[in-house]
């Protein structure tokens, strides 16, 4: 439960030195993609910051987002940030279960009304009154409405919560929608990705913790500091794209040389995320570095956006049939026009009257 201690005091209680705190602040600046000149300001703000109460609701999801966040083991910065917030409800992570867990959620919602941060992962099924996903007998839809009322801001973690994600994919049997489709009167931060990069989740929490505000967002509600640039623009294979060097299959020479994966369907150019710079598994690599094109998982409807293995500049539906039908129609139509033209010509020929010298002389003869 959130308490009156400031974050600075809390960290020192845990035996973290001032140098350690400075290191933490420097890493936070990196995390939020802020210049290191901001470190003193971050340190000053964090020193005084109060632990915010966080309620985490998991709806129609696969727990991949929570897995992503908890993959890093303590004592990491991620875990420090998690310690720095008061996670009052998260039904996968909390010790309590059943009625006690729900009681904790209700108590936090009441005590910190208007102040808590609501984190949502998973989409919300709306079909048939939202019966397709419930927690403690309450539909996700109802729980979101109720929890959103007292939230200072909502963080939609993962593509499901941000844009509907996989449950929303065609034919969307449960009528799944994103948080922003339901809640219209609260600031919503979309932290998309399937799953999102852990430091991006914590980066957003860090921003809220440090400045008490939500970061600058793009037109899809994602923090610009992480989603400001496309994978393609920050990709280390970009020079190969510019030189026109492409892998044609996953095991040809180009692939072995680490050439651009555009022709193998990489969605890097239309995908905005921090994978190419922040990378995964503590900075080890990211999909393209492992030899597979980007799937575009941080973009809306990525699951229905054509084949993962087809180049972005190619048609998503085969055009051969349309072309054949059009050609047939064109030939039939063209033949009709040709017939018509021949007919017109023949008619003109028939109607043609030969003019003799006599005909030409007639008028003058009459005048005589």
């Amino acid at each position: 439960m959130a308490d009156e201690h400031s974050l600075g005091e809390l960290l020192r209680e845990q035996g973290i030195s001032r140098r350690g705190f400075l290191k933490f602040c420097g890493a936070m600046a990196s995390l939020m993609a802020l210049p290191s000149s901001m470190v003193p300001a971050i340190a000053a703000a964090l020193e005084k910051a109060q632990r915010p109460s966080v309620i985490w609701l998991s709806f129609q999801e696969c727990t991949g987002c929570t897995e992503s966040l908890t993959r890093s083991h303590s004592p990491t910065l991620e875990s420090l940030i998690l310690n720095a917030i008061s996670l009052d409800y998260h039904h996968t992570l909390q010790a309590a279960s059943g009625e006690a867990a729900e009681a904790a959620r209700e108590a936090a919602m009441k005590q910190f009304f208007g102040k808590y941060l609501l984190v949502v992962d998973g989409s919300i099924p709306t079909k048939d009154g939202g019966v397709y996903s419930t927690i403690a007998g309450i539909s996700n839809l109802d729980m979101l409405h109720e929890a959103a009322k007292g939230a200072a801001a909502i963080v939609a973690v993962g593509t499901c919560a941000a844009f509907g994600g996989l449950p929303h994919a065609s034919p969307n049997p449960t009528g799944a929608v994103a948080v922003s489709d339901i809640i219209k009167d609260k600031p919503i931060i979309n932290v998309s990705g399937c799953p999102p990069i852990p430091v991006v989740i914590t980066g957003v929490l860090a921003h809220y913790l440090t400045f008490g505000t939500i970061p600058e967002l793009d037109d899809l509600g994602r923090p610009k500091s992480f989603y400001g640039e496309s994978i393609h623009d920050r990709c280390y294979r970009r020079p190969f794209y510019d030189q026109g060097k492409f892998a044609k299959t996953f095991d040809d020479e180009g692939a072995r040389n680490g050439w651009c994966l555009f022709e193998l369907g990489c969605k890097g150019p239309t995908t905005f995320n921090a994978c190419a710079t922040t990378k995964w598994n503590q900075g080890t690599s990211f999909p393209i570095e492992s030899g597979h094109g980007c799937l575009g998982c941080s973009e809306p409807d990525f699951w229905d956006a054509g084949s993962f293995y087809q180049a972005l500049s190619t048609p998503i539906t085969p055009v051969g049939r349309a072309a054949a039908v059009a050609a047939a129609a064109g030939i039939v139509g063209g033949a009709a026009i040709a017939m018509h033209n021949r007919h017109t010509k023949a008619a003109a020929k028939t109607a043609h009257q030969t003019v003799t010298i006599d005909d030409l002389e007639k008028p003058s003869g009459e005048a005589k």
């Binding site: 140098r19 280390y236 020079p239 503590q282």
Partner: protein, 126 residues
């Protein structure tokens, strides 16, 4: 193939110039830069190994090394799992993280005095 190392070296040269002229340096954040394979090594090779190497133990180890270029420090922050959490090249006469925070100095003085007074008391008692 290396394409991103040379511009970084130019930036470091500019920062060194400024440090020499005004006393104010700056830093280059390596963490999160789209370095190509080989860039990192090229950068290390270009900067070389200097005289000073220090290690800080706070939230995991932090290596602070001066490179062969005086005033250019390579700082690698790791967490308890030895994973790199932040890495930068700092152009300064002494990195801030090496300097003792003023509050810690004051607290150290207090702690020592307390220890001394306890020791003196012990002597008198004995």
């Amino acid at each position: 193939m290396s394409t991103n190392a040379p511009p970084l070296l130019h930036e470091i040269a500019t920062l060194l110039d400024r440090l020499a002229r005004t006393g104010e340096g700056g830093n280059v954040q390596l963490y999160g830069l789209p370095l190509q394979p080989g860039d990192y090594e090229a950068l290390q090779e270009a900067l070389g190994e200097g005289e000073i190497s220090a290690e800080l133990q706070a939230l995991g180890p932090t290596q602070i090394r001066e490179t062969a270029l005086y005033g250019v420090w390579w700082i690698t922050h790791r967490n308890g799992e030895q994973e790199v959490v932040d890495e930068s090249i700092e152009v300064t006469r002494c990195p801030a993280i090496l300097q003792t925070p003023a509050e810690d100095v004051a607290e150290a003085a207090l702690a020592l005095r307390k220890r001394l007074s306890v020791a003196t008391k012990g002597e008198h008692d004995g």
